[in-house]
Symmetry: C2
Subunit: 308 residues, 2 copies
Amino acid sequence: MSRNNISIAIHGGAGTILRNEMTPELQQQYEQGLHNALDKGYSILSVGGSSLDAVEAAVASLEDFPLFNAGRGAVFNNKGGHEMDAAIMYGKTLEAGGVCGVSNIRNPVRLARAVMEQSGHVLLSGAGAEEFARSQHLQFEDDAYFYSQQRYQQWQDALKADVVQLDHTVKKFGTVGAVALDYEGNLSAATSTGGLTNKKFGRIGDSPIPGAGTYANNNTCAISCTGVGELFIRSVVAYDISCLIEYKGLSLKDACDLVVNDKLVKIGGEGGLIAIDKDGNIEMPFNSEGMYRACHNNLGRNEILIYR
Amino acid sequence: MSRNNISIAIHGGAGTILRNEMTPELQQQYEQGLHNALDKGYSILSVGGSSLDAVEAAVASLEDFPLFNAGRGAVFNNKGGHEMDAAIMYGKTLEAGGVCGVSNIRNPVRLARAVMEQSGHVLLSGAGAEEFARSQHLQFEDDAYFYSQQRYQQWQDALKADVVQLDHTVKKFGTVGAVALDYEGNLSAATSTGGLTNKKFGRIGDSPIPGAGTYANNNTCAISCTGVGELFIRSVVAYDISCLIEYKGLSLKDACDLVVNDKLVKIGGEGGLIAIDKDGNIEMPFNSEGMYRACHNNLGRNEILIYR
């Protein structure tokens, strides 16, 4: 049996993460959240588990961690609720599943996987997606589970200012994601987000859309994005990197550099992404001040990083 | 001032369109619907209007025509309502707007354009998108406007059989779309659909998603798709054609052939698309039995077609 390298990378969002607003205690909490998620995913890969299970477990762990804007830590929308988006994609089959604007689902990434495997569809939205979640016995939580004083204050501040805000009062794109390569050579990607504080009108970002915020293809790479969702959709960011590899012969590094540090910068598309190619190479580029990120492979790379 | 060629192409959906189920009277009605929409769009281009105005006008005309599955002719969903999706994209700026799961909007394509130009977002969904539509004074219609005995019977048949059906009892992907190139060299694309008869769970197809069912880029082409939405999303069909032109140097014809008649066929992705490149070349490929389609340019091409 041919054994590939195993690799996993995760992110907890990009943006303006200022050192002078970060206490040592808070930084340690973020690093612990990243460490726990990375460990959940890598431990699956290391015993021969699938990349699909690994990215689902890693993202579910990030969703359960209250400081990241996804799952439990999702920001408040304009109505005082939580509307979450998530997607998952399997590079072996190009199967994908996504959900948009769902509420009270503990782990939207698990719902995205159920959509992929059980619904016959790719994208489900709103109350209909929740009805599907009940039919699949997904875990629901009441509003209190998603409440935190910090998120509530961010929403109140945004309401007063009458603006739609990114994750924090400092500009931070609250999204979590994971990409992985398993021993079988199969790539997977998953992304989950609570969207924008005070968001209105049922806005959907890039996270749940295969090709935009999430993409996996065994021939090329697996990608999970975080950034200004509107510009990531218009640029079809994740699939663009895949095409630059497949059609133009670029390396993962060169494709990531071109898209994140050139094409996106030119249109104001602040953010970043995590990427793994079919050989297990890991890239974690971003054009913002920082990005919560971590990676682990079986060639000795094991990192947890926040700043440049 | 340099004058480009002007071109427009439209579609009213692909699928199993059987000659022996088509009467001469019905065929004439379909052709009249296509003719009216084509004429609306081309007359804008011919007096120097923008491709964005042309595709919006053509798609709005198709939405107003009761036989196509979009706008007035939208099929019934599982709850007996009508949930429509639409998108528009402008190749000059790569700006895009889309709406998912909206009800009672007379012309979803006009709402998609308002999203693009007035919302600060790209994709809005459900009740939130309708709230935005009211703020923009879009035209609403009551349920009776969207009622037809034929669509109601299709829904009842689907309910009895407990299946999610494509447009008709014969397999037909009810979607409408338009692509155009104007004298200024700007490309635009728009797509609109009523989705699947008896659809559940807030399902979203490829139509409203920039890169999947709808895409426009002045450097490459404008595309509007119709087919099995799930497979078109997973294949990122519209942007794939753009990338094959930009990164691999393929002609519009070769890129369309590869995607529609090879890549999509291999995964069971039945359907088709309309495409115009920056030089005004028109392609209207499909891998199904037929596709309602028409095109007109200033080099003498003027066609209305249904079968192969």
